[in-house]
Subunit: 311 residues, 2 copies
């Protein structure tokens, strides 16, 4: 039984054809930045057709950048997609473009966690958190072997957990994990430091452009002090948030993924293991495994939604 | 079908006889402070007999002050019980003292949450957190209608979630919720302030004795500044921890209980609702309901373990 999985991101649409956990084909398109939801739906329809021209797939799964009410197929809002400011029935609209085959829609971090749980670093572990470091910080939770979605599809918002409750009173930030460990917030902090006289090659090399994950790694390797300090804070905030998740939910392992985590590599991960152990209840050592499904995780996990719907 | 529920606390053992959610009888004993686990098991056996002399109950549930590995019946460690420093098979030992009837054992916050979910303020809500303010801060989670225990029975440790990740680096504390909102930590902070010259009636009235919940309420009512400031911090830290739980798990309501919450009353709760709303994702308003099962919650919830085992 083959399924199509589509990862709808802010910059690209990736479609894969999957059978028995194997990727049989891939097709990538840029995400339309104009034309709103209709243009994006049209592009997804094209990607689905291109990856499976014979129409062998029994269903289509889609991972989207925003919370989805379970079983609704509707994406209410997506800040990083063109004009996606009101609810769109992705399942219905995409199904109409794909021979009325069934379409299942879920949040991108949820489907990536599903991929890691079933085909990646989380195989055989029934209680885990998948955490993804990128522009922001997202997560998915598997509890007792099942993805935790929550009644409104809002579960997993680790980026919006509070690691510094004083920050709000002091007017600095909300004190959420994302304020310390998201690449977007990190860039903001680096530019602030730079303009206050703490010169950093992060800013001198990036200029007006974005400070990408690759540049963060380079700055660390070259001993850039602002970069070292900011990543140290990010790691400590992340360790605190993960310890909160472990202590609250009795989680067995952490799966770490996302572009930023990939670039920072094993040294960052190993350091994080130590920081986490110093905060877990009774000093419990919780393994942190590197995500294995890489760039395919979203599309692969989306394809798994089709199988999940049949069980 | 009648069941016995036993709440094993640091100072008292409360046994209830329950049928169809109604308490038919109660018996209370002081918890033996010498003689170790055997003396405590003996007292629990007596309490079970006293509350149900005819032996009509089909089983016995026990709520204990510590994490319990699911389905094991074993309490590994209990800091506030006499000599309870190694694992004891509470289920087996108590069953032997009670005509070999089946005995089910779980953590006290879990059973109190079970009571609130099935018979109290959480009836009909399938995603909730029960949070209990006392010497420390404990919690239980109901997700998709089921108590979340976790593979090691360690779930629900909200007191050990991190609301201030800087505190550890600064050597102040671990920065856990309990460091700000547990009565024990609050007392410590009040005494520190007092000895540093910020006179408080909390300390002048309590003297060498414990600062009880009732005295905290009195100090607030009399406008005692250190008390007001410390409870303000406690509320903000608690709001941050609850917002973390809501944002991470997509929780529908909070049930607030425990001796300290009872004393602080509706004003504290209503204030907490506002603080929570200012931190939840998309400003979602999450109701906070006052726990309804009161002093019976532990024993009542323990009795529900018997029913739960039959479904």
């Amino acid at each position: 039984m083959a399924s199509i999985g589509i990862d709808l991101g802010g910059t690209k649409i990736l479609a894969v054809l999957v059978e028995n956990g194997q990727v049989l084909g891939k097709h990538k398109l840029p995400t339309p930045t104009a034309g709103g939801p209709q243009a994006i739906l049209e592009a997804m329809g094209v990607a689905a057709h291109e990856v499976d021209p014979a129409g062998t797939a029994v269903g289509i799964g889609v991972g989207v950048p925003g919370p989805v009410v379970p079983d609704s197929g509707v994406l209410p809002l997506a800040c990083n997609l063109s004009d996606w400011t009101s609810p769109v029935d992705v399942a219905g609209e995409l199904s109409a473009r794909c021979d009325r085959r069934p379409v299942f829609v879920d949040n991108d971090c949820n489907v990536a966690t599903l991929a890691e749980h079933q085909l990646g670093a989380g195989r055989g572990v029934d209680n885990l958190v998948g955490v993804f470091l990128g522009t922001g910080v997202g997560a998915g939770l598997v509890l007792d072997g099942r993805l935790r979605r929550g009644p409104h599809g809002m579960a997993g918002e680790i980026g919006h957990t509070f690691v510094d409750f004083w920050a709000k009173a002091n007017g600095e930030s909300q004190g959420e994990l994302e304020d310390y460990a998201g690449r977007s917030a990190l860039e903001h902090r680096a530019r602030d430091l730079h303009s206050q006289g703490e010169a950093s090659l992060l800013v001198s090399e990036a200029g007006e452009g974005p400070i990408k994950s690759k540049l963060w790694k380079k700055a660390l390797d070259m001993g850039d002090q602002p970069a070292i300090r900011l990543i140290d804070q990010a790691a400590e905030a992340l360790a605190a948030a993960l310890a909160t998740v472990v202590n609250l939910l009795d989680i067995e392992i952490v799966v770490l993924g996302g572009g930023m985590a990939e670039r920072l590599g094993p040294a960052f991960r190993d350091d994080l293991v130590q920081r986490l152990a110093s905060r877990t209840f009774a000093g419990r050592l919780v393994p942190i495994r590197t995500a294995e499904t890489g760039d395919n995780s979203g599309a692969l996990g989306a394809a798994l939604l089709v199988e999940e719907s049949r069980t």
